[in-house]
Symmetry: C2
Subunit: 241 residues, 2 copies
Amino acid sequence: MPYELYYWDGIQGRGEFIRLALEDAGAKYIDKCRSSTGTQVMMEFLKGSHGHDHMPFAPPFLKDGELVVSHVANILFYLGPKLGLVPEDEKSRLIANGLQLTITDFVSEAHDTHHPISTGDYYEDQKTEAKARSTAFIKDRIPKFLGYFERMLSTSPSDEGFILGNGLTYVDLSLFQVMEGLHYAFPKAMKASEGSYPRLAALREKVSKRPNIAAYLKSGRRLPFSESGIFRHYPELDLGD
Amino acid sequence: MPYELYYWDGIQGRGEFIRLALEDAGAKYIDKCRSSTGTQVMMEFLKGSHGHDHMPFAPPFLKDGELVVSHVANILFYLGPKLGLVPEDEKSRLIANGLQLTITDFVSEAHDTHHPISTGDYYEDQKTEAKARSTAFIKDRIPKFLGYFERMLSTSPSDEGFILGNGLTYVDLSLFQVMEGLHYAFPKAMKASEGSYPRLAALREKVSKRPNIAAYLKSGRRLPFSESGIFRHYPELDLGD
Protein backbone atom coordinates (compact mmCIF):
# COMPACT_ATOMS: atom_id res chain seq x y z
CA MET A 1 0.00 0.00 0.00
CA PRO A 2 1.51 3.38 -0.95
CA TYR A 3 2.11 6.02 1.69
CA GLU A 4 -0.39 8.87 1.65
CA LEU A 5 1.05 12.35 2.14
CA TYR A 6 -1.35 15.09 3.16
CA TYR A 7 -0.25 18.66 2.64
CA TRP A 8 -1.71 21.91 1.30
CA ASP A 9 -2.04 21.80 -2.46
CA GLY A 10 0.07 24.00 -4.70
CA ILE A 11 3.09 24.73 -2.50
CA GLN A 12 6.31 23.02 -1.49
CA GLY A 13 6.06 24.26 2.09
CA ARG A 14 6.79 21.84 4.90
CA GLY A 15 5.50 18.96 2.81
CA GLU A 16 8.59 19.20 0.62
CA PHE A 17 10.85 17.73 3.30
CA ILE A 18 8.74 14.58 3.20
CA ARG A 19 8.50 14.50 -0.60
CA LEU A 20 12.29 14.66 -0.95
CA ALA A 21 12.73 11.65 1.34
CA LEU A 22 10.06 9.61 -0.45
CA GLU A 23 11.43 10.58 -3.88
CA ASP A 24 15.06 9.87 -3.05
CA ALA A 25 14.12 6.44 -1.78
CA GLY A 26 11.89 5.76 -4.77
CA ALA A 27 9.02 4.98 -2.40
CA LYS A 28 5.46 4.64 -3.61
CA TYR A 29 3.31 7.50 -2.31
CA ILE A 30 0.24 9.49 -3.15
CA ASP A 31 0.40 13.26 -2.78
CA LYS A 32 -3.23 13.32 -1.74
CA CYS A 33 -4.10 16.97 -2.12
CA ARG A 34 -2.98 17.06 -5.74
CA SER A 35 -6.15 15.20 -6.66
CA SER A 36 -9.45 17.04 -6.96
CA THR A 37 -10.97 15.70 -3.74
CA GLY A 38 -7.78 15.39 -1.69
CA THR A 39 -8.02 18.63 0.23
CA GLN A 40 -11.55 17.77 1.33
CA VAL A 41 -10.33 14.39 2.56
CA MET A 42 -7.51 16.12 4.44
CA MET A 43 -9.86 18.57 6.12
CA GLU A 44 -11.92 15.67 7.48
CA PHE A 45 -8.86 14.47 9.38
CA LEU A 46 -8.13 17.96 10.73
CA LYS A 47 -11.75 18.35 11.83
CA GLY A 48 -11.50 15.13 13.79
CA SER A 49 -13.94 13.08 11.73
CA HIS A 50 -11.64 10.06 11.96
CA GLY A 51 -11.24 10.20 15.72
CA HIS A 52 -8.64 11.00 18.34
CA ASP A 53 -5.70 9.04 16.92
CA HIS A 54 -6.23 10.40 13.40
CA MET A 55 -6.58 14.10 14.22
CA PRO A 56 -3.33 15.97 13.58
CA PHE A 57 -3.07 19.66 14.44
CA ALA A 58 -1.93 20.64 10.96
CA PRO A 59 -0.44 19.31 7.71
CA PRO A 60 1.84 17.75 6.74
CA PHE A 61 0.81 14.34 7.99
CA LEU A 62 1.45 10.89 6.62
CA LYS A 63 -0.98 8.01 6.55
CA ASP A 64 0.52 4.54 6.46
CA GLY A 65 -2.27 2.00 6.73
CA GLU A 66 -4.02 2.68 10.03
CA LEU A 67 -1.27 4.95 11.34
CA VAL A 68 -1.37 8.74 11.02
CA VAL A 69 1.90 10.53 11.80
CA SER A 70 2.11 14.32 12.02
CA HIS A 71 4.92 16.93 12.00
CA VAL A 72 7.83 16.84 9.59
CA ALA A 73 10.45 15.62 12.06
CA ASN A 74 8.14 12.93 13.41
CA ILE A 75 7.26 11.69 9.92
CA LEU A 76 10.93 11.56 8.92
CA PHE A 77 11.79 9.81 12.19
CA TYR A 78 9.17 7.20 11.30
CA LEU A 79 10.07 6.87 7.62
CA GLY A 80 13.86 7.09 8.02
CA PRO A 81 14.62 3.43 8.71
CA LYS A 82 11.94 2.15 6.33
CA LEU A 83 13.39 4.20 3.48
CA GLY A 84 17.02 3.48 4.37
CA LEU A 85 17.55 7.17 5.10
CA VAL A 86 18.96 6.88 8.61
CA PRO A 87 21.08 4.25 10.36
CA GLU A 88 18.97 1.87 12.47
CA ASP A 89 20.76 2.34 15.79
CA GLU A 90 19.15 4.47 18.49
CA LYS A 91 22.03 6.91 18.83
CA SER A 92 22.08 7.80 15.12
CA ARG A 93 18.32 8.19 15.05
CA LEU A 94 18.34 10.52 18.05
CA ILE A 95 21.14 12.64 16.58
CA ALA A 96 19.35 12.79 13.22
CA ASN A 97 16.14 13.80 14.98
CA GLY A 98 17.95 16.52 16.95
CA LEU A 99 19.37 17.91 13.69
CA GLN A 100 15.97 17.72 12.00
CA LEU A 101 14.40 19.64 14.89
CA THR A 102 17.06 22.31 14.53
CA ILE A 103 16.07 22.55 10.86
CA THR A 104 12.42 22.78 11.98
CA ASP A 105 13.22 25.80 14.14
CA PHE A 106 15.18 27.43 11.35
CA VAL A 107 12.37 26.90 8.82
CA SER A 108 9.90 28.39 11.27
CA GLU A 109 12.09 31.48 11.59
CA ALA A 110 12.40 31.69 7.79
CA HIS A 111 8.60 31.71 7.62
CA ASP A 112 8.33 34.46 10.20
CA THR A 113 10.54 36.79 8.14
CA HIS A 114 7.48 37.53 6.02
CA HIS A 115 4.91 37.02 8.79
CA PRO A 116 6.43 38.40 11.99
CA ILE A 117 3.16 39.67 13.49
CA SER A 118 0.33 37.39 12.43
CA THR A 119 0.01 34.36 10.17
CA GLY A 120 -3.64 35.32 9.76
CA ASP A 121 -2.84 38.65 8.08
CA TYR A 122 -1.34 39.41 4.68
CA TYR A 123 2.34 40.10 4.19
CA GLU A 124 1.37 43.53 2.88
CA ASP A 125 -0.06 44.37 6.31
CA GLN A 126 3.22 43.67 8.11
CA LYS A 127 5.86 44.77 5.60
CA THR A 128 7.69 47.17 7.90
CA GLU A 129 7.99 44.56 10.63
CA ALA A 130 8.93 41.94 8.02
CA LYS A 131 11.82 44.10 6.88
CA ALA A 132 13.07 44.45 10.46
CA ARG A 133 12.76 40.73 11.13
CA SER A 134 14.42 39.82 7.83
CA THR A 135 17.32 42.14 8.56
CA ALA A 136 17.92 40.38 11.89
CA PHE A 137 17.41 36.98 10.23
CA ILE A 138 20.07 37.70 7.60
CA LYS A 139 22.47 39.30 10.05
CA ASP A 140 22.17 36.94 13.03
CA ARG A 141 20.07 33.88 12.40
CA ILE A 142 21.29 32.62 9.02
CA PRO A 143 24.91 32.70 10.23
CA LYS A 144 23.97 31.03 13.50
CA PHE A 145 22.07 28.14 11.90
CA LEU A 146 24.14 27.65 8.74
CA GLY A 147 27.33 28.08 10.76
CA TYR A 148 26.17 25.27 13.01
CA PHE A 149 25.34 22.91 10.13
CA GLU A 150 28.64 23.77 8.45
CA ARG A 151 30.49 22.84 11.67
CA MET A 152 28.52 19.61 11.90
CA LEU A 153 29.49 18.78 8.31
CA SER A 154 33.13 19.68 8.92
CA THR A 155 33.36 17.38 11.94
CA SER A 156 31.28 14.57 10.45
CA PRO A 157 33.00 11.19 10.15
CA SER A 158 31.42 10.85 6.69
CA ASP A 159 33.98 10.86 3.90
CA GLU A 160 31.26 11.70 1.38
CA GLY A 161 30.31 15.07 2.85
CA PHE A 162 27.12 13.97 4.58
CA ILE A 163 26.14 15.16 8.06
CA LEU A 164 26.12 11.76 9.78
CA GLY A 165 28.69 9.05 9.41
CA ASN A 166 26.92 6.38 7.43
CA GLY A 167 25.93 7.69 4.04
CA LEU A 168 23.12 10.05 3.14
CA THR A 169 20.29 10.59 5.63
CA TYR A 170 17.01 12.46 5.45
CA VAL A 171 18.78 15.32 7.26
CA ASP A 172 21.02 15.83 4.22
CA LEU A 173 17.95 16.00 1.98
CA SER A 174 16.37 18.57 4.30
CA LEU A 175 19.54 20.66 4.33
CA PHE A 176 19.44 20.65 0.51
CA GLN A 177 15.90 22.02 0.67
CA VAL A 178 16.87 24.68 3.22
CA MET A 179 19.72 25.86 0.97
CA GLU A 180 17.41 25.90 -2.07
CA GLY A 181 14.82 27.88 -0.14
CA LEU A 182 17.27 30.42 1.23
CA HIS A 183 18.80 30.98 -2.22
CA TYR A 184 15.32 31.51 -3.61
CA ALA A 185 14.20 33.88 -0.86
CA PHE A 186 17.38 35.82 -0.18
CA PRO A 187 19.61 35.51 -3.28
CA LYS A 188 21.74 38.55 -2.50
CA ALA A 189 22.31 37.63 1.12
CA MET A 190 23.22 34.08 0.17
CA LYS A 191 25.55 35.28 -2.57
CA ALA A 192 27.29 37.60 -0.11
CA SER A 193 27.92 34.79 2.38
CA GLU A 194 28.77 32.15 -0.24
CA GLY A 195 32.32 31.53 0.92
CA SER A 196 31.30 30.85 4.52
CA TYR A 197 29.48 27.57 3.90
CA PRO A 198 31.50 25.50 1.41
CA ARG A 199 30.38 22.16 2.79
CA LEU A 200 26.71 23.12 2.68
CA ALA A 201 27.18 24.30 -0.91
CA ALA A 202 28.85 21.01 -1.83
CA LEU A 203 26.08 19.03 -0.12
CA ARG A 204 23.43 21.00 -1.99
CA GLU A 205 25.17 20.23 -5.29
CA LYS A 206 25.66 16.58 -4.43
CA VAL A 207 22.03 16.01 -3.43
CA SER A 208 20.75 17.74 -6.57
CA LYS A 209 22.65 15.20 -8.68
CA ARG A 210 21.35 12.07 -7.05
CA PRO A 211 19.46 10.32 -9.84
CA ASN A 212 16.09 10.13 -8.12
CA ILE A 213 16.32 13.71 -6.88
CA ALA A 214 17.49 15.05 -10.26
CA ALA A 215 14.56 13.30 -11.95
CA TYR A 216 12.15 14.61 -9.33
CA LEU A 217 13.37 18.20 -9.65
CA LYS A 218 12.72 18.07 -13.39
CA SER A 219 9.27 16.51 -12.98
CA GLY A 220 5.89 18.11 -12.52
CA ARG A 221 5.78 16.67 -9.03
CA ARG A 222 8.29 19.32 -7.91
CA LEU A 223 6.21 22.42 -7.40
CA PRO A 224 7.97 25.75 -7.90
CA PHE A 225 8.88 28.03 -5.03
CA SER A 226 6.37 30.84 -4.76
CA GLU A 227 5.10 33.66 -2.58
CA SER A 228 2.56 31.30 -1.01
CA GLY A 229 5.15 29.04 0.62
CA ILE A 230 7.55 29.14 3.52
CA PHE A 231 10.48 30.58 1.56
CA ARG A 232 9.28 33.68 -0.29
CA HIS A 233 11.19 36.00 -2.51
CA TYR A 234 10.28 39.57 -1.67
CA PRO A 235 13.25 41.58 -3.04
CA GLU A 236 12.70 44.31 -0.45
CA LEU A 237 13.43 41.81 2.37
CA ASP A 238 16.77 40.73 0.90
CA LEU A 239 20.12 42.46 1.41
CA GLY A 240 20.43 45.79 -0.44
CA ASP A 241 22.96 46.31 -3.24
CA MET B 1 24.32 7.08 36.81
CA PRO B 2 21.99 10.10 37.10
CA TYR B 3 20.80 11.90 33.98
CA GLU B 4 22.50 15.23 33.37
CA LEU B 5 20.22 18.05 32.22
CA TYR B 6 21.88 21.05 30.60
CA TYR B 7 19.89 24.25 30.39
CA TRP B 8 20.42 27.97 30.98
CA ASP B 9 20.66 28.71 34.68
CA GLY B 10 18.01 30.73 36.46
CA ILE B 11 14.97 30.19 34.25
CA GLN B 12 12.32 27.54 33.68
CA GLY B 13 12.35 28.04 29.92
CA ARG B 14 12.33 25.00 27.69
CA GLY B 15 14.25 23.03 30.30
CA GLU B 16 11.16 22.91 32.49
CA PHE B 17 9.40 20.40 30.22
CA ILE B 18 12.24 17.98 30.92
CA ARG B 19 12.39 18.75 34.63
CA LEU B 20 8.69 18.00 35.05
CA ALA B 21 9.09 14.58 33.45
CA LEU B 22 12.13 13.70 35.55
CA GLU B 23 10.48 14.98 38.73
CA ASP B 24 7.16 13.22 38.18
CA ALA B 25 8.99 9.94 37.61
CA GLY B 26 11.23 10.49 40.62
CA ALA B 27 14.28 10.00 38.39
CA LYS B 28 17.78 10.83 39.55
CA TYR B 29 19.14 13.81 37.64
CA ILE B 30 21.58 16.64 37.95
CA ASP B 31 20.47 20.08 36.81
CA LYS B 32 24.00 20.85 35.68
CA CYS B 33 23.90 24.61 35.29
CA ARG B 34 22.69 25.15 38.82
CA SER B 35 26.20 24.39 40.04
CA SER B 36 28.92 27.03 39.87
CA THR B 37 30.82 25.50 36.96
CA GLY B 38 27.88 23.96 35.10
CA THR B 39 27.33 26.70 32.54
CA GLN B 40 30.99 26.55 31.55
CA VAL B 41 30.71 22.80 31.08
CA MET B 42 27.59 23.32 28.95
CA MET B 43 29.29 25.90 26.76
CA GLU B 44 32.05 23.40 25.96
CA PHE B 45 29.44 21.09 24.43
CA LEU B 46 27.88 23.92 22.42
CA LYS B 47 31.31 24.99 21.16
CA GLY B 48 31.95 21.48 19.90
CA SER B 49 34.78 20.60 22.28
CA HIS B 50 33.33 17.11 22.73
CA GLY B 51 33.02 16.37 19.03
CA HIS B 52 30.37 15.91 16.37
CA ASP B 53 27.98 13.61 18.24
CA HIS B 54 28.05 15.75 21.39
CA MET B 55 27.46 19.16 19.81
CA PRO B 56 23.84 20.25 20.15
CA PHE B 57 22.66 23.48 18.56
CA ALA B 58 21.21 24.84 21.81
CA PRO B 59 20.04 23.86 25.29
CA PRO B 60 18.21 22.00 26.63
CA PHE B 61 20.11 18.80 26.07
CA LEU B 62 20.33 15.65 28.14
CA LYS B 63 23.40 13.56 28.74
CA ASP B 64 22.84 9.90 29.57
CA GLY B 65 26.20 8.19 29.76
CA GLU B 66 27.79 8.60 26.35
CA LEU B 67 24.60 9.75 24.69
CA VAL B 68 23.72 13.43 24.20
CA VAL B 69 20.12 14.13 23.16
CA SER B 70 18.97 17.61 22.17
CA HIS B 71 15.59 19.36 21.73
CA VAL B 72 12.72 19.03 24.18
CA ALA B 73 10.56 16.70 22.09
CA ASN B 74 13.53 14.47 21.25
CA ILE B 75 14.59 14.25 24.91
CA LEU B 76 11.06 13.38 25.99
CA PHE B 77 10.76 10.84 23.20
CA TYR B 78 13.93 9.22 24.53
CA LEU B 79 13.03 9.44 28.23
CA GLY B 80 9.34 8.62 27.89
CA PRO B 81 9.54 4.81 27.99
CA LYS B 82 12.41 4.80 30.51
CA LEU B 83 10.40 6.95 32.91
CA GLY B 84 7.11 5.14 32.29
CA LEU B 85 5.67 8.34 30.82
CA VAL B 86 4.47 6.99 27.50
CA PRO B 87 3.15 3.60 26.36
CA GLU B 88 5.84 1.45 24.75
CA ASP B 89 4.10 0.75 21.45
CA GLU B 90 5.19 2.63 18.34
CA LYS B 91 1.80 4.12 17.56
CA SER B 92 1.42 5.70 21.00
CA ARG B 93 4.95 7.05 20.89
CA LEU B 94 4.40 8.65 17.48
CA ILE B 95 1.12 10.22 18.56
CA ALA B 96 2.73 11.53 21.77
CA ASN B 97 5.62 12.93 19.75
CA GLY B 98 3.23 14.63 17.33
CA LEU B 99 1.42 16.24 20.26
CA GLN B 100 4.70 17.29 21.86
CA LEU B 101 5.81 18.91 18.59
CA THR B 102 2.54 20.82 18.48
CA ILE B 103 3.35 22.06 21.98
CA THR B 104 6.84 22.98 20.74
CA ASP B 105 5.36 25.19 18.03
CA PHE B 106 2.96 26.80 20.48
CA VAL B 107 5.76 27.53 22.98
CA SER B 108 7.84 29.07 20.21
CA GLU B 109 4.93 31.35 19.32
CA ALA B 110 4.48 32.26 23.00
CA HIS B 111 8.14 33.29 23.06
CA ASP B 112 7.76 35.43 19.96
CA THR B 113 4.97 37.48 21.54
CA HIS B 114 7.68 39.41 23.40
CA HIS B 115 10.37 39.01 20.72
CA PRO B 116 8.62 39.27 17.33
CA ILE B 117 11.50 40.98 15.53
CA SER B 118 14.79 39.77 16.96
CA THR B 119 15.81 37.47 19.78
CA GLY B 120 19.07 39.39 19.90
CA ASP B 121 17.42 42.68 20.88
CA TYR B 122 15.68 43.71 24.08
CA TYR B 123 11.94 43.52 24.52
CA GLU B 124 11.97 47.27 25.07
CA ASP B 125 13.24 47.74 21.50
CA GLN B 126 10.29 45.86 19.96
CA LYS B 127 7.39 46.74 22.27
CA THR B 128 5.06 48.07 19.58
CA GLU B 129 5.51 44.96 17.44
CA ALA B 130 5.21 42.78 20.55
CA LYS B 131 1.82 44.32 21.31
CA ALA B 132 0.63 43.60 17.76
CA ARG B 133 1.90 40.02 17.86
CA SER B 134 0.44 39.41 21.34
CA THR B 135 -2.94 40.72 20.23
CA ALA B 136 -2.98 38.21 17.35
CA PHE B 137 -1.67 35.47 19.66
CA ILE B 138 -4.48 36.02 22.16
CA LYS B 139 -7.17 36.41 19.49
CA ASP B 140 -6.18 33.65 17.07
CA ARG B 141 -3.37 31.42 18.25
CA ILE B 142 -4.32 30.62 21.86
CA PRO B 143 -7.82 29.52 20.76
CA LYS B 144 -6.40 27.50 17.87
CA PHE B 145 -3.87 25.59 19.98
CA LEU B 146 -5.83 25.26 23.22
CA GLY B 147 -8.96 24.44 21.24
CA TYR B 148 -7.06 21.59 19.60
CA PHE B 149 -5.74 20.19 22.88
CA GLU B 150 -9.20 20.50 24.44
CA ARG B 151 -10.65 18.49 21.53
CA MET B 152 -7.93 15.89 21.91
CA LEU B 153 -8.76 15.60 25.62
CA SER B 154 -12.48 15.39 24.95
CA THR B 155 -12.04 12.55 22.47
CA SER B 156 -9.34 10.71 24.43
CA PRO B 157 -10.15 7.15 25.47
CA SER B 158 -8.62 7.94 28.88
CA ASP B 159 -11.16 7.88 31.68
CA GLU B 160 -8.83 9.88 33.89
CA GLY B 161 -8.74 13.01 31.75
CA PHE B 162 -5.31 12.43 30.19
CA ILE B 163 -4.59 13.08 26.52
CA LEU B 164 -3.65 9.52 25.54
CA GLY B 165 -5.48 6.37 26.50
CA ASN B 166 -3.13 4.71 28.95
CA GLY B 167 -2.58 6.92 31.97
CA LEU B 168 -0.51 10.04 32.30
CA THR B 169 2.16 10.77 29.67
CA TYR B 170 4.85 13.41 29.38
CA VAL B 171 2.47 15.28 27.06
CA ASP B 172 0.08 15.82 29.99
CA LEU B 173 2.95 17.22 32.06
CA SER B 174 3.89 19.58 29.22
CA LEU B 175 0.28 20.73 28.86
CA PHE B 176 0.29 21.53 32.59
CA GLN B 177 3.38 23.70 32.04
CA VAL B 178 1.83 25.46 29.03
CA MET B 179 -1.28 26.29 31.07
CA GLU B 180 0.85 27.53 33.97
CA GLY B 181 2.90 29.68 31.60
CA LEU B 182 -0.09 31.18 29.81
CA HIS B 183 -1.80 32.01 33.11
CA TYR B 184 1.40 33.70 34.26
CA ALA B 185 1.95 35.66 31.04
CA PHE B 186 -1.62 36.54 30.07
CA PRO B 187 -3.77 36.31 33.23
CA LYS B 188 -6.58 38.48 31.92
CA ALA B 189 -6.81 36.72 28.58
CA MET B 190 -6.80 33.33 30.26
CA LYS B 191 -9.43 34.43 32.76
CA ALA B 192 -11.64 35.67 29.93
CA SER B 193 -11.47 32.34 28.08
CA GLU B 194 -11.70 30.18 31.22
CA GLY B 195 -14.95 28.45 30.30
CA SER B 196 -13.68 27.33 26.90
CA TYR B 197 -11.11 24.82 28.15
CA PRO B 198 -12.59 22.86 31.05
CA ARG B 199 -10.60 19.71 30.34
CA LEU B 200 -7.30 21.56 30.16
CA ALA B 201 -8.17 23.31 33.43
CA ALA B 202 -8.96 19.96 35.06
CA LEU B 203 -5.74 18.45 33.73
CA ARG B 204 -3.71 21.37 35.08
CA GLU B 205 -5.30 20.88 38.51
CA LYS B 206 -4.81 17.13 38.43
CA VAL B 207 -1.14 17.30 37.46
CA SER B 208 -0.42 19.92 40.14
CA LYS B 209 -1.67 17.47 42.79
CA ARG B 210 0.41 14.50 41.79
CA PRO B 211 2.60 13.91 44.85
CA ASN B 212 5.97 14.25 43.10
CA ILE B 213 4.87 17.31 41.16
CA ALA B 214 3.31 18.97 44.22
CA ALA B 215 6.55 18.40 46.16
CA TYR B 216 8.61 19.73 43.26
CA LEU B 217 6.51 22.86 42.86
CA LYS B 218 7.07 23.68 46.54
CA SER B 219 10.81 22.99 46.37
CA GLY B 220 13.68 25.29 45.50
CA ARG B 221 14.24 23.23 42.38
CA ARG B 222 11.18 24.86 40.79
CA LEU B 223 12.40 28.23 39.60
CA PRO B 224 9.86 31.03 39.44
CA PHE B 225 8.44 32.34 36.18
CA SER B 226 10.17 35.59 35.28
CA GLU B 227 10.74 38.14 32.53
CA SER B 228 13.84 36.23 31.41
CA GLY B 229 11.97 33.09 30.36
CA ILE B 230 9.69 31.97 27.56
CA PHE B 231 6.45 32.98 29.28
CA ARG B 232 6.77 36.60 30.41
CA HIS B 233 4.25 38.77 32.16
CA TYR B 234 4.25 42.21 30.58
CA PRO B 235 0.84 43.62 31.57
CA GLU B 236 0.75 45.81 28.46
CA LEU B 237 0.74 42.69 26.25
CA ASP B 238 -2.26 41.11 27.99
CA LEU B 239 -5.91 41.79 27.25
CA GLY B 240 -7.10 45.23 28.39
CA ASP B 241 -9.77 45.65 31.08
